[in-house]
Amino acid sequence: MIDLLDKHKPIAERHARMMAMGVNAVGLTNDKILSPTRAMINGRETILAGTNNYMGITFDADCIKAGQQAMAEFGTGTTGSRIANGSYALHKELEAELGLFLNRKHCIVFTTGYQANLGMISGLAGPKDTIFLDADSHSSIYDGCTLSGAKLVRFRHNDATDLDKRLTRSEGEEGGRLVVVEGIYSMLGDRAPLADFVAVKKKHGFQLLADEAHSFGVLGPHGRGLADEAGVEDDIDFIVGTFSKSVGAIGGFGAGNHPLFETLRYAMRPYMFTASSSPASIATSIAAIKKLAAEPERRDRLRANSARLFAGFKGLGLDMGCDTVSPVIAVKCADEVSTIAMWNALLEAGVYVNIALPPGTPNKLCLLRCSVSAAHSFDDIDKIIALFGKVVASRAAA
């Protein structure tokens, strides 16, 4: 008999090497969450700078109250899918609220952000179609593409000219064409040059999907994401996003103005064959989206915090993930062993960031990745900068 798990032995060995260096960088336990920016980890109060909690909304009193009330009124779980068990009034309310916020005619909510990409991409493209996806796309996009059965063409990251070339090569082939890009890329924090992609769209004709997971609630005058910031919303056919970042809950969504959009509900397996999200999660999402609309100052605070951390790291001479400021601020490190060591040292000094290693990163990069929150104080940001100065900059100089 061939043991099915034998093939994972190299992963086990790599993990054992990491464990031998200290704590488990990919399986950390937060013993207590004290606030959007503080947790107790290994008995120490730690600044959280790797949570994607961009709006710092997870402990908002109104959101908590909405969640508690929904749980009391609708119960702990939905115990089934919306197709089989029916929707709750809350689902409909969330979709209406989101449509209003996004200024889109149709919204469909999913149980997680991962499923939103799986559902939308596999619902839109089928085996006869071609999907052109950015090389640095998130795994949920790759997995959605695989699920669709479409022909998959990968173009160079953020390179509209390269996309143009690949579209030209496949000219005349049967089926529709879907292009998938992201608002803010989760590893390096860079943005898609949307206007360039829109120009290629006008030349070739295709349908365009933007995953605004890290930019929803964050970018644009209305907080609707990169398309809002770039002023090209009318040219983006489909938006995908998540409730697990700016919204501080769990779930995801797809949105668009297409007249057949609602039909996707009966064509997306990751929507049809999974339980819908819990009443508490839906209700906190509704409350949080109302806050994103009513409290633009949260975005201003996030922007100021992000700019401060970015400038601080630049000042230390760190090798940054990209040149534009966003709440995702990554620092490139020399190799896996030193990255793990620095991550450990940062944690012991009281700051939690993400560690990102190949193949989860583009171009084999080893990264210490920070995500900034509107709930960070300038004092928090300055502490993070100082610790990176002590742990990361000094090592780079040595």
Partner: protein, 82 residues
């Protein structure tokens, strides 16, 4: 499927920068498993092959192509078609 020696040579040249094992490349070399190249790097390498030959090799085809010889045959078939 057999591939031309020229195509195999060219693919080996393009693959060399991704080969950190020092192993000698032959048509039977399995690109991912023998050379310990992760899934993202395999896709990056295939992009170099696409651009060199000015052809499209969809990811669905990449996932069924394991050895250098397999890839060379795919390239030859697609160059001819174009």
């Amino acid at each position: 499927m057999t591939a031309s020696p020229e195509t195999i040579d060219q693919i080996c040249k393009l693959l060399e920068p991704f080969n950190s094992t020092g192993k000698v490349l032959t048509p039977d070399t399995e690109i991912a498993t023998d050379l310990n190249i992760d899934s993202v790097a395999v896709m990056d390498f295939v992009m170099e092959v696409e651009d060199h030959f000015d052809i499209e090799i969809p990811l669905n085809v990449v996932s069924e192509t394991h050895s250098i010889g397999d890839l060379a045959a795919v390239v030859d078939a697609r160059v001819k078609k174009a």
